[in-house]
Amino acid sequence: MAAEAIGWWGVPLGILAGTLRSSAPFLFVSLGECLTEKSGKINLGLEGTLLMGAMSAYAISYLGSEKWGMSPAASPWIGVLVAGCAGMVLGFIHAWLSQQPKVNDIAVGIAMIIFGSGVAFFLGKPFIQPQAPQLPFFELGRLMSNVPAVQSALQISPLFLIGVGLAPLMSWFFKSTRPGLFIRAVGDSPDAALAMGVSIKKVRMLCIIAGSFLAGIGGAYLSLVSPGSWNEGISSGQGLMAVALVIFARWNPVQCLWASLFFGGTQAVGPALQAVGVDSGIYLFNAAPYVLTLLIMIITCSPKRTLSGAPGALGTISG
């Protein structure tokens, strides 16, 4: 491929390209999970939401342009929106169920992974074959270089840029706005929130639904930008890694951005090496993100203290 023309330089370039391309799902899911966890609930089911988002975005993009007569430029964007809404539906189920008395939110998350991926695979079966119109790129590379490999490496999706913009925005939202304060209060000290007259249930419901909306958009990125197709192995645990990533990022949206870039980078190592002809141990390289996530969790967690930045009510059965 193009990597042959520039030899081993293809590896760092490939990793850079992969970072720009594959960190967006991590970013959206981790921002969604960050929002959810700030309100004191965990949503492990975002893996299922991601798949559901990927499937519905792809299906709508395909159906819209082929069957319903939309322009191929518009239908992917409708797909992104529908993916977010599909995420919201799953988020509502999670939010409602996990706030029932005696119901554990982690268990609900596991159930939602199974349910979400089941529904996505069930409804997505007819869409594995056809090719749906994709979201456009900003051709940043074309301004900077004539080498085709560099040009294709520096294609940047507008969706990714939206995610990058969203991170500081969310940080500001938590820090400086009234609703942000309410969310932090509900997550840190439900009793205090109750005393402020905030409805814990409502805040958590909204946070989980909004978080799932973001995760659904992350799924749309998977199927409409990179890798840009729909199949059953498309997410392979990225939703879950993003949940672990939030712990690594200490529940700080801006750090979620850096962590997502880092994770996208490790995910790109395997394919980048494969592109220059390294084939042995490719499965091990592809497992690098999982190993890395585990290592990061081992390093950052500690039994002696609660993590700085962790919402106080997280993981407790309250409210």
Binding site: L44, I93, L97, Q100, P101, K102, V103, N104, I106, A107, V108, G109, I110, A111, M112, I114, F115, G116, S117, G118, V119, A120, F121, F122, K125, E232, S236, G237, L240, M241, V243, A244, I247, S280, G281, Y283, L284, N286, A287, Y290, V291, T293, L294, M297, I298, C301, S302, P303
Partner: protein
């Protein structure tokens, strides 16, 4: 006058004897999951109807292909065998308050350990040369199988013990870490069968070398069911006694109920965590061994068949009770085995089983919140214990 209190005492005594067995609680523990299963069947029917299928045809087909004949029931039991074992991988740590979902990974690791031991004991090498393939060693088949079972148990056990140790010593969330370990185990398996232990003769699907026919786990006479089913049944019974009737189990349940109290009582919580996790993983590892030794005869991608994830569901529906796990495993094994028929006859995607499992899971979780909400299942106050009504209260009632 004197007769009424006497009969009241009898009734009270009778109720007292019954309440010693807590039958209302038992009835509740059976009725709620069964009700939840029925309700999820209804929801699933609605889902099918939305997809343009006749729900009753779907129900009929599931019943027919899961329990309808002895032949189809054999297929159900064949799937129930690994489910019982993988369910224990979630059910045992749950008694300690841990939610471990690394069943699939432990199963794969158990399968890898088993195939390594099996090939070593049969041929003297994991990658036997053509000459070695010709002469199978003289170790009796039972010895080879025992070696495989031990290797599977240790491999799966250590895999989950790591999760337990990380939980206790580093406070790493066990749910996330065990799920990550699934992906790592599957990647490791793909790496090994794709290179280091690959059978070059196998061209369709990258696989390890096959076990010799004589060293496989045999079927029960005249059936397709292999002896792995007994592994599951025995493991569930042992697990039940271990949890309910031994000091070790009591310590584990105490730590699961209240870690601080357990620590103050001097229980070694860390050791308990790691040991329970080891036992849990070893059950799933044994399931992997049985799958390798009886069904596949080798290790390849087919080992990752979703038994791990269904096992989680079995454990939840059984409310972590190992004896109940056996029954639930048969029930869900039947639904799994009907997946093929749904695909062939009604042209439904294979993910149908996954949708149904997800629905069951959600409804079962919702049913958790219903415990203690039905008056039928509440202990009534024995009549003799009720204080005589003061005259004033009766006047207020009438007024």
């Amino acid at each position: 006058m004197s007769k009424t209190p006497q009969s009241r005492i009898w009734i009270a005594n009778g109720l007292g004897m019954l309440s010693r067995y807590n039958w209302r609680k038992i009835a509740e523990a059976i009725a709620l999951p069964v009700g939840a299963l029925l309700f999820s069947l209804i929801l699933f029917g609605i889902f099918c109807a939305f997809c343009g299928k006749n729900p009753f045809a779907v129900y009929g087909l599931i019943y027919k292909s899961a329990f309808g004949s002895w032949r189809s029931f054999q297929g159900t039991l064949l799937r129930a065998a690994p489910l019982m074992l993988t369910a224990l991988c979630t059910a045992l740590p749950a008694r300690l308050g841990l939610m471990i979902i690394g069943n699939e990974g432990a199963l794969v690791m158990g399968g890898l350990g088993a195939i390594a031991a099996g090939l070593l004991l049969s041929y003297g090498s994991i990658t036997p040369s053509p000459e070695q393939l010709q002469n199978v060693s003289g170790i009796p088949s039972a010895g080879v199988l025992l070696g495989m079972a031990l290797a599977g148990i240790v491999a799966g056990g250590l895999w989950i013990a790591v999760v337990g140790a990380l939980r206790h010593y580093r406070a790493v969330n066990e749910t996330i870490s065990s799920l990550l370990m699934n992906y790592i185990a599957i990647a490791l398996m793909n790496h090994l069968v794709g290179g280091p232990i690959k059978d070059p003769g196998e061209t369709i699907k990258a696989s390890s070398f096959s076990l010799p026919e004589m060293n496989r786990l045999i079927n029960l006479p005249t059936t397709r069911i292999h002896y792995g089913l007994f592994y599951g049944l025995i493991a569930c019974v042992i697990a039940y006694f271990l949890i309910q009737r031994t000091t070790f189990g009591f310590a584990a349940r105490t730590a699961g109920g209240n870690v601080k109290a357990a620590r103050i009582a001097g229980l070694p919580v860390g050791k308990l965590t790691v040991m329970i996790c080891f036992l849990a993983g070893s059950c799933a590892g044994l399931a992997g061994m049985a799958e390798v030794a009886a069904v596949h005869g080798r290790v390849n991608e087919s080992l990752v068949a979703g038994y791990g994830y269904t096992g989680i569901l079995v454990a939840f529906v059984a409310r972590y009770n190992p004896i109940a796990c056996t029954l639930v495993a048969v029930l869900l094994g039947g639904i799994l085995s009907s997946g093929g028929a749904l695909q062939r006859t009604l042209d439904m995607p294979d993910a149908t089983a996954l949708v149904f499992q997800g629905l069951v899971f959600l409804v079962i979780l919702f049913s958790e919140s219903l415990y203690g909400r039905f008056r039928v299942f509440k202990e009534p106050i024995a009549p003799i214990a009720a204080p005589p009504l003061p005259p004033s209260s009766s006047t207020t009632v009438s007024a």
